[in-house]
Subunit: 221 residues, 2 copies
DNA sequence: AATAATTTTTAGATTTACCTAAAACTATTA
DNA sequence: TAATAGTTTTAGGTAAATCTAAAAATTATT
């Protein structure tokens, strides 16, 4: 089995490779894990020895098939536990990330399968992220980031790409939660903030916030 | 907070001090944790520094109040997770120990309280052990070990003092589960095994097994 | 009380994951 | 293309938790 730490590295490498194309850089991993580049280099050697990543000095890394499977397993667990916390234990969506961060390392495949069953085989976690099934398969959601949407378009919020408590509490206050229908009223030239219409109410969202809101556009009629 | 390892030491020290009177010896801790006496000595110094135990060289240790509270917190978590696994995820009582051993180290007091609520504030875990409440209080069950009961007495099985899968599966096969009423038919002089009557059926239980079955005697009429 | 047996502790190493500081690469740009 | 800036790696070290082997203390036995 992989250590707690190894799993965290794999997870972060996976996430970075999903958002940025090409190989994953040492510094990106370091900042994702709040650690130093030198520490990352040490671990990359170890992960390469275990054939979880392909690693070329100074060039960055990519996950091997084996590494990708391991990463997805951790992500599956993380997201299932988040559903458990919100659906069963009545946590809010902004409270669950850190606890799931611990629970995701519990090592028992029977446990994961039983939990999945208990939760009714959910397809999405409380932040709208897809939950891989036991074979690691999931449909990536066809989303667009809010700040990239053109004026006049309509859509539904289907997820967020940041899970920190302050960010999610802010969204909650704005009424921007998953499932909410929005229309883009315009983009402010000065600061890049986005003008939205939500239930006929005008809402201004900073560019930084908009970057982390995932939207599914309404089909063109 | 205390490390994973420190918590395990505290838990084992607590358990040993419950079963044997007096101070807890280094070797007892070592065998309880499958480690070596030298490693235990190292850790005892550390726990003493943190004022979790009172430690006198060569004399053994006792938990301080602070140490006892920490130990009971871990035990509370362990037992609540066991209830979760059996009641909600439909695990058998012989499958839950190892998983709970991991879950007990998850660090979130809100989580524990929510879980307790979700489970309906259970008083006992699947092995009959009492679950401490959030202040650490619990009623220790007035039990007697099966091998110590005199011929002719009757009682109800209320718990077990071993949680290993082989032991519990064995009990299951014999029909000796929690809640079952038994009568002592006699004790075999030759090997100390116990003759039981369960639903008018004669059952022979080895002394080793009897030692780990906890019984509440029927009130004398 | 002296010796033997047992238990516990110390001494010195190992492994994992981390660190800082310096060296070695790679990329940028003047 | 040579200098500079930025990134990554190496070198050497630390802390936690473990180990073996040897020394010290305690307990039991003659």
């Amino acid at each position: 089995m992989h250590s707690f730490t190894e799993e965290n590295y794999l997870k972060v490498i996976y996430h970075i490779s999903q958002t940025e194309p090409g190989t994953v850089q040492t510094n990106a991993i370091a900042s994702g894990l709040n650690t130093k580049a030198a520490s990352v280099t040490d671990m990359l050697k170890k992960l390469a020895d275990k054939q979880l990543i392909d690693y070329i000095k100074y060039q960055g890394v990519t996950l091997t098939e084996k590494g990708k499977i391991a990463a997805i397993k951790v992500i599956r667990k993380h997201r299932l536990w988040e559903v458990f916390l919100v659906d069963k234990l009545k946590f809010r969506w902004d409270e669950v990330h850190d606890i799931a961060e611990e629970l995701e390392h519990i090592n028992s495949s029977i446990l994961v399968e039983r939990l999945d069953d208990f939760l009714g085989f959910p397809k999405r976690d409380p932040h709208g992220d897809p939950i891989p099934d036991q074979h690691g398969n999931f449909e990536p959601s066809a989303h667009i980031h809010l700040h990239e949407i053109a004026k006049g378009k309509k859509g539904i919020i289907i997820g967020v790409s940041e899970h920190s408590s302050p960010f999610l509490i802010h969204l909650e206050k704005l009424g921007l939660t998953i499932g909410v229908t929005i229309a883009i009223d315009g983009i402010t030239a000065y600061d890049g903030s986005v003008e939205l219409l939500v239930n006929d109410q005008k809402i201004n969202v900073s560019r930084k916030v908009a970057q982390h809101i995932l939207v599914k556009l309404e089909e063109a009629q």
